[in-house]
């Protein structure tokens, strides 16, 4: 097996292992910190796919932003002393069955479908191309994204503030 394949399987194992910890851990703090491994592993997968800019965005926004936000929420909403019992799960067996059937179906479909193939697989820097496309083909969604973020910002502040009652 060549080196690239070994590294791919390592990164994939980190991703899947961390995601499994998120799904199965009984302690929500462990779940939250396992999310770090899952996000970092996905960033590594992006690097494998030649998506350097997306990998950087993944690290910046997911690991640097969303994960910190989730950790804050965990710390703010739990009495740290009884944290061990706070990550309860219900309906494990039916959930497991549904998910296993779905996964088998997905894998079957993935293996049998003749996916389109690109003429050539290239590994080039993508930032310049992405920047060009954001300001040309995808200008409207790009501007809408700023509006969505502004609305989310205001909405989050309004929702999370302490209400002062008369």
């Amino acid at each position: 097996m060549e080196l690239a394949a070994v590294i791919f399987y390592l990164v994939a194992a980190v991703t899947v292992g961390s995601a499994a910890m998120v799904a199965f851990s009984r302690n929500i703090i462990y779940s939250a910190f396992s999310l770090l491994g899952a996000f970092a592993g996905v960033a590594g997968i992006y690097v494998f796919l030649g998506a350097d800019f997306v990998a950087a965005v993944q690290v910046l926004i997911y690991v640097g932003g969303i994960l910190v936000l989730i950790l804050f929420a965990v710390m703010l909403t739990h009495r740290i002393t009884d944290v061990k019992i706070t990550n309860r799960a219900a309906g494990r067996i039916p959930g497991l069955v549904i998910v296993a059937v779905l996964l088998a179906l997905l894998v079957q479909t993935i293996r049998e479908t003749p996916w389109a193939k690109a003429k050539q697989i290239v590994y080039t820097p993508t930032s310049a191309k992405i920047g060009d496309m954001f300001l040309q083909d995808y200008l409207l969604p790009f501007e809408l994204a700023s509006l969505v973020l502004l609305a989310a910002l205001i909405g989050a502040v309004v929702l999370a503030r302490k209400e002062i009652r008369e």
């Binding site: 394949a5 791919f8 899947v16 995601a19 499994a20 998120v22 799904a23 929500i28 939250a32 999310l35 899952a38 996905v42 997968i45 992006y46 796919l49 998506a51 997306v54 965005v57 926004i61 932003g65 969303i66 936000l69 989730i70 804050f72 929420a73 703010l76 909403t77 706070t86 990550n87 309860r88 219900a90 309906g91 494990r92 497991l96 549904i98 998910v99 779905l102 996964l103 997905l106 993935i110 996916w115 193939k117 690109a118 050539q120 697989i121 290239v122 993508t126 191309k129 992405i130 496309m133 954001f134 995808y138 969604p141 994204a145 989310a152 909405g155 989050a156 502040v157 929702l159 999370a160």
Partner: protein
């Protein structure tokens, strides 16, 4: 066997299944949000994999960036709602919080 498109798609499917399992079984609202993040990540893996192996362009990567942006907005608003629910009900068990007002 060289690493190809199928490897990435199957990895995405596994991460999606784990995320779906988290969403289905957890009682804790924050854990449910973590599951949603896993599902969004698996979708992004598929976008970028198809961009790399099937189209050869960067359109898929742009969609992945939009998904990451929406995930950030969703996490901010979702966790703000969770905090508001916690202030009101002193629990974030999704089974216990079933009314829309006090």
């Amino acid at each position: 066997m060289a690493i190809g498109l199928n490897h990435y798609l199957i990895l995405g499917a596994i991460v999606f299944s784990l995320g779906l399992y988290t969403v289905l079984t957890r009682r804790n609202a924050i854990s449910v949000l973590m599951g949603v993040e896993l599902i969004l990540n698996s979708a992004n893996i598929n976008y970028v994999a198809f961009a790399h192996y099937s189209s050869g362009g960067v359109d898929g990567q742009i969609y992945a960036i939009f998904v990451i942006m929406l995930a950030a907005a969703e996490a901010a608003v979702g966790l703000a709602i969770v905090l508001a629910i916690f202030q009101l009900f002193h629990t974030i068990d999704v089974g216990a919080v079933e009314t829309l007002k006090e």
